[in-house]
Homo-oligomer: 119 residues x 2
């Protein structure tokens, strides 16, 4: 970021608008949290996992078969989903069944579908 860029003619012209918007913007951490959440939805494997778990709880192995990737890949992605509090595990013997942590996932999906289906 150069100084020249920071003080172009255009900016001086719209100084009031920029300052007003600046005052209404949330602080940095909020943006990072939001971005991290959406980043999770920005991968087809993870979207498929979430979609599947929304239909029925499943173990790692089943998800691997369903999505045609290794158990390892599924496990890595489930860790990310756990970290974002989107899924929760339930151990039953040797298997670990995963399900959605709450119904935010469903409503976030709905909003996304609304958008892409309107084009």
């Amino acid at each position: 970021m150069t100084e020249a860029e920071n003080f172009s003619d255009c900016t001086v012209l719209h100084e009031d608008t920029v300052k007003a918007v600046q005052a209404q913007m949330p602080d940095e951490p909020q943006f990072y949290d939001l971005a991290d959440l959406y980043k999770v939805f920005g991968d087809t494997t993870r979207i498929k996992i979430l979609w599947a778990l929304d239909i029925h709880e499943m173990c790692v192995c089943d998800l691997a078969v369903l999505l045609n990737v290794t158990k390892s890949a599924i496990s890595h992605q489930l860790r990310i989903l756990r970290q974002e509090n989107l899924v929760k595990p339930r151990r039953e013997g040797k298997e670990v069944f995963y399900s959605l942590a709450d119904d935010h996932v469903r409503s976030i999906f709905e909003k996304g579908l609304e958008h892409i289906n309107e084009l």
Copy 2:
């Protein structure tokens, strides 16, 4: 993806569940479109742009100052946002003012915030 992985003991056990879920899953393109949409929200610069435009329409130069990155970076990101039909441009002389294309952005944000504010 190895064959061994595809036909583990576990899978045979839950064959019915997997098949039922498989039948209810949307087809591949739908997942790609969804992922592409969310990918857009998965970057702080883009989130900030969208948030800012939700408050007030702005030109490229103003956004650059507000977010403290180069006009080039803003322009690149705006192209992505245009491609996903999230923002629309309006030329006025030398400047191009951008605004939100519809109010999906706002409702998608709301769902995201609901989730992160509940932890």
